[in-house]
């Protein structure tokens, strides 16, 4: 309320200014804008939140105020000059009033809305994979980095730089150690394949597939204190829904967990129970526990396994487990069931622990392991201090919510969602307070507010970074093309 009074007062003072309609008809509603940036909490170092006014009209004027600073912008597309944006957001509260002229040349003033500027900064860089919405083909993938303080986006690496017509190369699962790009990885599949790792700024390519493990590493999680990476091994399949708003179903007919020892270039098994489909490892903040999800499947192991799994897909309820780990001795403790999703006819995936170790945010769906392609996928949040959990409706939408990432200070969450059209995944941010409550999410700002609607590619695997990736795409390309992957050695078998 206090905020509203301040905004109205500031805007009243401005009414007499040039360019702002003097006589207006009051409209008791907040204007519809795209992306929906009304009443959101934003970080102080974010780029201008440009938007389009979604109200019918002949002319548009938008007044953006912060303290004594203001910007008056004409037109349906509100593109805020970066310099003015920087000044306005310094004041902590941004007021926005929209005026729209109707066909009879009368100005309508809409109820002002605000953007609260949080004192919690956001990491200045993010990276994501830009991918055509697809089923099996992967001709045109790129991992890109975006400076959140402006609109600059650069390609980190694109598969078009190495693959040939006959030999495609899929790239995926980019991941950073402690938000730093001096230690990072991503996988290249098939042509010139291997896990491309940057270790202390130097490039390496490793083949994590051994004779004793199922596949190369897939979903990674860097150990917070030691030189280990936990990864899943997956044999993934896709199938098309013949008549449903969900288009695709993705499942693994086998999956395990492995630990990659960076220093020794060895792979050891964490979990490889043939009846369990273990997946999505994620370390606790202190690195003494590994969270993961798993589902017990006792079905056929023959040729029909995959088809049977697709038929019984709705029974696939993944639970959340944890496993204690001593990083110094590299030993594992007994598995513990953390959340029995199956008992709730649900399936939990993508657990990710906040940097302070208190919160665990995960995807929850009716079934399955791949929330991206399930309209019903939402988030569930656990308070690891007291073991409670809740469904953060602030974040959830009627469409699929999937991969998410915590900022390095644990105050921001970035997540991918299909809320805009049901198919194209877009990135949204939300601020979390000390009680674990999220603010209304807002879309990744773009220079052109129509970008999200116009862009026909999807974003996935969004990750925060403290700094940009310094290795150039050309360096990556020439390294990947010219280097064979070093085979990782198999260290131990489980139980040995």
């Amino acid at each position: 309320m206090k905020h509203c009074i301040t905004i109205v007062a500031a805007l009243t003072l401005l009414v007499s200014c040039t360019g702002i309609p003097q006589t207006t008809v009051q409209t008791d509603k907040v204007p519809s804008v795209f992306p929906d940036y009304t009443n959101v909490v934003i970080p102080s170092n974010i780029a201008p939140l440009n938007f389009r006014i979604e109200e019918e009209g002949k002319k548009y004027v938008t007044v953006i105020t912060g303290g004594a600073d203001k910007a008056v912008i004409g037109g349906q597309k509100v593109e805020i000059p970066p310099r003015k944006w920087r000044k306005i957001k310094q004041h902590g509260l941004i007021g926005i009033q929209v005026f729209v002229m109707d066909d009879d040349s009368r100005w309508h003033s809409y109820r002002p809305f605000s953007m609260s500027v949080s004192e919690d900064e956001i990491d200045p860089y993010i990276s994501y994979r830009v991918i055509p919405v697809a089923v099996e083909s992967y001709q045109n993938l790129s991992i890109r980095q975006r400076n959140l303080t402006n609109f600059r986006e650069k390609v980190i690496f694109a598969n078009t730089m190495v693959q040939t017509n006959a030999d495609g190369a899929c790239i995926n699962c980019h991941s950073y150690r402690d938000y730093s790009t001096d230690n990072m990885l991503f996988h290249v599949r098939q042509y010139k394949g291997g896990t491309v790792m940057v270790l202390d700024g130097k490039l390496h390519k490793v083949n994590m597939k051994t004779d004793h493990t199922l596949s190369a590493g897939v979903y990674p999680s860097w150990h917070p204190t030691h030189d280990y990476i936990a990864l899943s091994n997956n044999r993934t399949h896709q199938s098309v829904h013949s008549a449903s708003h969900d288009k695709l179903e993705v499942l693994d007919d086998i999956s395990d967990l492995i630990l990659y020892d960076i220093k020794n270039n060895t792979v050891s098994v964490i979990e490889n129970d043939s009846s369990e489909l273990e997946n999505y490892p994620n370390w606790s903040a202190d690195g003494r526990k590994l969270y993961y999800v798993s589902y017990r499947y006792d079905g056929n192991y023959g040729d029909k396994r995959k088809n049977e799994m697709f038929l019984s897909r709705e029974d696939f309820h993944f639970n959340l487990y944890s496993k204690p780990f001593d990083p110094d001795t590299k030993t594992w403790g007994p598995t513990k069931l953390e959340f029995d999703a199956a008992a709730r006819d649900s399936s939990i995936t993508w657990p990710r622990v906040s940097p302070d170790g208190r919160w665990l945010l995960a995807c929850i769906s009716t079934h399955g392991v791949f929330p991206l392609d399930q309209i019903v996928s939402d988030y569930i949040m656990f308070d690891l201090e007291n073991g409670s959990y809740r469904y953060p409706d602030e974040l959830n939408s009627p469409f699929a919510e999937s991969f998410h990432s915590w900022s390095s200070n644990g105050r921001w969450v970035m997540f991918s969602t299909r809320r805009e059209d049901g198919v194209h995944t877009r990135l949204y941010f939300s601020h979390m307070d000390e009680n674990g409550r999220f603010s209304k999410p807002f879309a990744l700002p773009q220079r052109d507010p129509d970008f999200n609607r116009e862009f026909l590619y999807a974003f996935n695997i969004p990750e925060f970074m403290k700094e940009p990736v310094h290795i150039t795409p050309r360096q990556f390309a020439s390294f990947i093309s010219g280097t064979d992957a070093t085979p990782a050695k198999y260290e131990t078998k489980k139980g040995e």
Binding site: P132, N140, Q238, D448, R453, P473
Partner: protein
């Protein structure tokens, strides 16, 4: 000659031109333009895509292309200063440009570059620029500077054509005896060095291609490795012609030469160029029939689909008769069974046989007009493989259309997505993605595609018409094509994958799904497919469903023929009162079979077809082991 070419294109290749346009895209859209410019040669690609959209009106698109070819011919003469007696040489690169496009055939479905029809001729024209521009510069340094700027900016805008231009300029300078020796060496060496070095230097600015592909940027690309070199060769040869012509500018011309020898040489060059075009021009009846049927399917003009099919069958009747007579003569004089087999095999390609795409388009049209069970088996069938360098899966060619029309809209959407990744966006995929979102009532998604199509010249109106349907189910259900697709969407959702075999997937779908609320349309399609796969148990099962849902009083003749044949094969009693003509027809078929010895089904196929080609018996015995793709 240009007028003749234009007439041939408009009269004989209009559906090919339409398909080229349908599989291309040009949007008046910032993101689209920015995306195109991210690759060297992007501007050329944009210009090519812009012009390709006019093939939507084949007469207009063909006119633009022919005009550009004419300009290429004239400019070649002017830039290389070809004397009268050498002018026919200018026809050779133009002929190669024509061959490049018109020899493509089924390759059109695999093209990755949306600009491939116009970009090569535009690139050809662009590569003539440096020679004419540098010719106007006097100082050596200005020529070098020009070449440096040209290769750098030109590579970004026009791709490899910039380098060809520089090399052509260098070659012409090398052989120009009127220039100082220093210049004759420096310019070509600079052109060569710049053409080699610029891509290496400029590569860091791009992330969209491999370094080793630098010297082919801007040339058309295709998603088949085995086809790539053959597809690009004519275009590359046309550029080689420029280099040879540039080197030839140093040859002394004998000036005006009207001697008989010269006239003969010129005439022969013209004839050679024309013969070359004629020889490489892709002419295949099945391909052209498929294109016309596809065009009609996109317009839901089902009668046009059926007529096109019938026209193709009828047009081959005489040729088939001749082939049969010729084959019979050869067989009569054959001395052994092996020789007969060899003759039959050799002649098999001379008889007309449709492709599976043609059959599936035809059956679809017959189903949509409720004529399938009456007429499908009275028409010629077959499974001729594509006359193509590689077999193009039906999924790439007609998958989207067939899946959509049979109500498998998610599978249609899936192939649109795959097509986008493998072969880039196209008007076709945008349209089918829109229709998918409209029929699934996903308004936000539909809006995404509608807003793109609104930024086109020829699909704007159609896109706007879809906006009114995207969230109004009743209006959608009453509008074409949705009205005729919805009845097929009566099945339960299930997981499936077509493994790139469209026909097999359709068969499995209709044979495995038994919707509780099956519509008459669905049951008609299921019965048709049960008859197609010659599965006796499925036939009886689907016939029961068909009779129940369609409230049939009198069964179509082909169905009765299947009933009498299957009862006889299974030795079961048939309760249904069959038409007397059907009984007589079956008896006559049996009599014919017993009175004629059949050495091989392949050999007997034609004479049997002449007599019983419109019966289900013929289909059952002679249309077996059909290939699909």
């Amino acid at each position: 000659m240009a007028a003749i070419l234009w007439c041939v294109l408009v009269l004989k290749e209009q559906f090919f031109l339409y398909k080229v346009e349908d599989l291309s895209v040009f949007l008046f859209d910032k993101l689209f333009i920015a995306e195109c410019l991210k690759t060297p040669g992007g501007f050329l690609g944009l210009a090519g895509s812009f012009l390709t959209q006019f093939l939507h009106l084949p007469w207009l698109g063909a006119l633009l292309w022919v005009l550009l070819l004419l300009i290429a011919y004239q400019l070649t003469i002017r830039v290389f200063n070809l004397p009268e007696n050498r002018r026919p040489l200018a026809l050779i690169p133009v002929a190669l440009l024509i061959i490049g496009n018109m020899s493509l055939g089924y390759g059109v479905f695999l093209m990755r570059s949306q600009d491939h029809f116009f970009a090569p001729v535009l690139g050809y024209l662009i590569s003539l620029i440096p020679l004419s521009a540098a010719g106007r510069m006097k100082a050596l340094w200005s020529k070098i500077l020009f070449l440096a700027v040209w290769t750098t900016a030109g590579f970004a805008l026009f791709g490899t054509f910039a380098f060809t231009g520089a090399i052509v300029c260098g070659c012409a300078t090398l052989v120009n005896s009127g220039l100082p020796r220093r210049e004759r060496i420096t310019v070509p060496v600079s052109a060569l060095i710049l053409s080699l070095l610029v891509p290496l230097v400029i590569y860091s600015a791009y992330t969209s291609y491999k370094l080793t592909d630098s010297w082919i940027m801007g040339l058309p690309s295709i998603s088949s490795d085995s086809w790539t070199h053959a597809m690009r060769a004519p275009f590359q040869l046309s550029l080689l012609c420029q280099i040879l012509l540039a080197l030839g500018t140093g040859l002394k011309s004998s000036g005006q030469d009207d001697s008989t020898k010269s006239i003969i040489t010129r005439s022969l060059t013209y004839i050679a160029a024309i013969a070359m075009v004629w020889g490489f021009w892709y002419r295949d009846c099945n391909f052209h029939t498929e294109l016309e049927m596809s065009y009609a399917v996109d317009r839901y003009d089902w009668n046009h689909v059926i007529k096109t099919y019938q026209k193709a069958v009828d047009s081959h009747k005489k040729a088939d008769e001749k082939a049969f007579e010729s084959r019979s003569r050869k067989i009569e004089s054959a001395r052994s069974n092996d020789e007969i087999d060899e003759i039959v095999e050799r002649y098999s390609s001379r008889f007309f046989e449709p492709t599976r795409s043609m059959i599936l388009y035809r059956d679809l049209a017959l189903l949509k007009t409720n004529r399938a069970l009456k007429e499908a088996f009275t028409m010629k069938d077959g499974s001729r493989m594509q006359n193509s360098r590689t077999q193009i899966p039906m999924a790439w060619q007609s998958g989207k259309q067939l899946y959509f029309q049979y109500g498998l809209v998610n599978m249609c959407y899936r192939w649109c997505l795959e097509d986008v990744i493998e072969h880039n966006w196209s008007f076709s995929t945008l349209r089918y993605m829109t229709m998918h979102s409209v029929i699934m009532q996903e308004p936000d998604l539909a809006e995404k595609y509608i807003s793109k199509l609104e930024k086109t010249i020829f699909y704007r109106k159609w896109a706007r018409s879809q906006r009114t349907l995207k969230s109004d189910r009743d209006a959608m259900a009453a509008a074409a094509p949705y009205k005729s697709v919805l009845p097929y969407m009566c099945f339960e959702n299930r997981m499936s994958n077509d493994m790139i075999k469209t026909e097999a997937y359709l068969i499995n779908h209709f044979m495995e799904e038994e919707p509780e609320l099956a519509t008459p349309e669905y049951d008609r399609a299921a019965l048709l497919i049960a008859m197609r796969i010659q599965d006796i148990n499925r036939f009886w099962e689907r016939l029961r469903y068909y009779i129940n849902s369609n409230h049939v009083r009198e069964l179509p003749r082909s169905v009765q023929e299947a009933m009498i044949l299957y009862s006889s094969l299974r030795k079961t009693q048939l309760d249904y009162p069959l038409d007397e003509q059907v009984r007589r027809g079956y008896d006559s078929f049996n009599q014919y079979v017993s009175s004629h010895s059949i050495r091989s089904m392949k050999e007997a196929s034609y004479p049997f077809c002449q007599r019983f080609g419109k019966t289900f018996y013929y289909y059952y015995y002679f249309m077996r082991d059909l290939n699909t793709y």
